[in-house]
Symmetry: C2
Subunit: 394 residues, 2 copies
């Protein structure tokens, strides 16, 4: 390590989680102890800030401000969906040189693993001494090589409670609005949609159908499952992942995406809206459509305590890994195979993570409905923190 | 009072609130003390249950079950949107006679005031001794003659936090998705939409525009306000009430409602969806649309403590009013004009409430944007319970 490059920079990237700022606080706090003579910079708007030199010196931020940051949703440094190109590298390394950064932490998801790898490779080629460490975060839980990802537990808790509540509402309202379709996030994997089943204790409880990106939805079968639940229980709830596919691509009126971002991810007209209309016409009853959108990843009064702890753990571990001279790696969560639930952190080479997606395995879901199996509940229940309420009605 | 008619019946009606079951528990608990020799019946599905004789005897429900009921969203007895007709009265009174009901409590909103009045009038004409008391509940806060209504404070808290969180997300994501339009409930009045401004401490904070049913939205002015905020702050958030009108009726692609219920209330394609599309096309950027739907009235981990207390108070007061022989009235909340915030309960004749709507007064909103004034904050802040978080970002 070139002693001229001893400063620290941290950035946040991609979609927000409600605990992404806990990881930020943790990595900065730990680094102030681990690297007592270094300056710490927050890079604003992810790699955009590295390219433009837009940074904020965090070394003297007050403890009171940090306590507020920890409980602020969204990315306190600002985020980006920019895909790093080779042409950006010169400017990016100019910022690194200018700030004498020797340790770069990137808090993000799959796309960030790709970015981490690119920066690390370019640094090696240019001979610039730089340790690059990826701190995982995603509400989608689709990072590979880790038991789960910080951010998922809190969003999963929101979806579980939202489904329980919406189900009680539909059940209460009876024929005035007996069916609800909820659309949740999860671009390539159904982990969040699956979490909607964590409060389900009996066949009657919601949800009655889960749509996940892993399994194309057969419309006739969807209508069958939902109308059966409606006839049986007087109401029905379906939870559908964004971008759910039918036999011909993403479900909906249009086969083409409305928008494609720099990473090539398409954004479509809502498949849940499409399915709710289909169901309403087929059964000739009112079908509610609910779309919590970013509320599911920013609702700060509903955080999983496990998730908050682990978001902190991965930040602390990243700083420790930097101190040990590790680079080009991502912090992982490793679950103790013995009960009770416990996790420790590990490290994995970031090239094993970049551009890969962890999907929901077959043994976690029941065929036809995709309702969670007991194995899924065992996996996910500890991640959402306190146990879910147990409702009672007459 | 005919001594043969000493039993008690309670029903729930209309849209659910997260504390409607607190009022149910309170009126039943208080009545078991006030009327120790009476039976208490829960009427299932509102007046539908009175007509069909579908009731559940609540006298021996365990305390443990009641504790779960109190923390269950939706209506524990089931609700209805049925409008009572003259033809229903014979069957309805047959149930009342059969159960020897002398005291009927109806937990509900404006439509329930209408139902209360009709039952009371029919009872008097038939010479059946019946005290009929309306316990207020509505997340819309549109009941007249009361300072505010139980149910509003909790839903308002949800909307305030959802807006703060969504705003942080839009601000974090920058140009990847800088504008958010949130559609909230509030059929005829903008109280809930106004609550989205309770966490706004500066011009930069969300929301930047509020659409309320009281004021038709001028589309050009809406685009102006939102694009100004976007240019100024790098992001913008609008909160739009369902059924917001434009110059020609409810905003959207269709002038006609998708559905009209028995009370003549129309349900329209989303005006917020329409406005988000308009804004996206006009500014040529991604505009998010969020629609929390029934989640805003069922999210049980986000209850206002004030709201829960007051939902309990109105239930207890209703039972006391019955003991005093009062009938044909609604319990109200009367705010102490002196600080600190305090409410006591009162009683008002139900014919002053039925078929009337409390709208948001002019002095509570700023022209053009409908953002809340200090007077509105003073009115609404105590109702949402604990103070809202104060975020910090770099």
């Amino acid at each position: 390590m070139n002693s001229q490059h001893q400063n620290i920079a941290v950035l946040q990237s991609g979609g927000c989680t409600p605990v992404i700022n806990e990881s930020l606080w943790a990595v900065v706090s730990a680094s102030r102890t681990n690297f007592p003579t270094s300056d710490v910079y927050g890079v604003l708007r992810g790699v955009e800030g590295l390219i433009s030199g837009n940074v904020s010196r965090l070394t003297n931020v007050s403890e009171e401000s940090w306590q507020r940051v920890r409980h602020t949703p969204g990315s306190a440094l600002g985020s980006t969906r920019k895909k790093l190109s080779d042409a950006d590298m010169d400017q990016l390394f100019a910022t690194i040189e200018m700030l004498k950064v020797g340790y770069l932490f990137l808090i993000g998801g799959n796309d960030t693993a790709d970015t981490t790898e690119k920066i690390s490779r370019a640094g090696k080629i240019s001979g610039i001494p730089l340790n690059v460490i990826h701190i995982p975060k995603t509400i989608d839980n689709d990072l590979v090589e880790t038991d789960h990802s910080p951010g998922y537990g809190s969003a999963a808790r929101f979806i579980a409670l939202a489904t329980m509540g919406s189900g009680q509402d539909a059940l209460s309202m009876g024929n005035a609005s007996p069916i609800t379709v909820i659309e949740v996030m999860g671009r390539d994997a159904g982990w969040l949609a699956m979490a909607s089943g964590l409060g389900k204790r009996s066949d009657q409880d919601p949800p009655h159908f889960i749509g996940i990106p892993e399994v194309p939805i057969d419309q006739a079968s969807f209508i069958d499952v939902m109308s059966y639940a409606y006839r049986q229980f007087g109401y029905a709830v379906a939870v559908i992942s964004e971008n759910c596919r039918g036999p011909k691509g993403v479900l909906g009126p249009n086969v083409e995406p409305l928008l494609v971002d720099e990473f090539g991810h398409g954004y479509y007209e809502s498949p849940a809206k499409y399915l709710s209309k289909l169901l309403s016409e087929s059964l000739n009853i009112r079908v509610r459509y609910e779309y919590p959108g970013t509320i599911q990843r920013t609702f700060i009064e509903n955080i999983s305590t496990t998730d908050r702890n682990e978001a902190q753990m991965v930040g602390i571990s990243a700083s420790k890994a930097a101190l040990e001279g590790r680079t080009d790696c991502m912090v992982t969560l490793l679950r103790d195979p013995e009960a009770p639930y416990r996790c420790k952190t590990g490290l994995v080479s970031v090239d094993l993570v970049a551009n890969r997606v962890a999907t929901v395995p077959v043994q976690y879901r029941i065929p036809d409905t995709n309702l969670p199996t007991k194995s899924f509940n065992k996996y996910a229940a500890p991640l959402i923190g306190d146990s879910l309420p147990d409702f009672f009605r007459f």
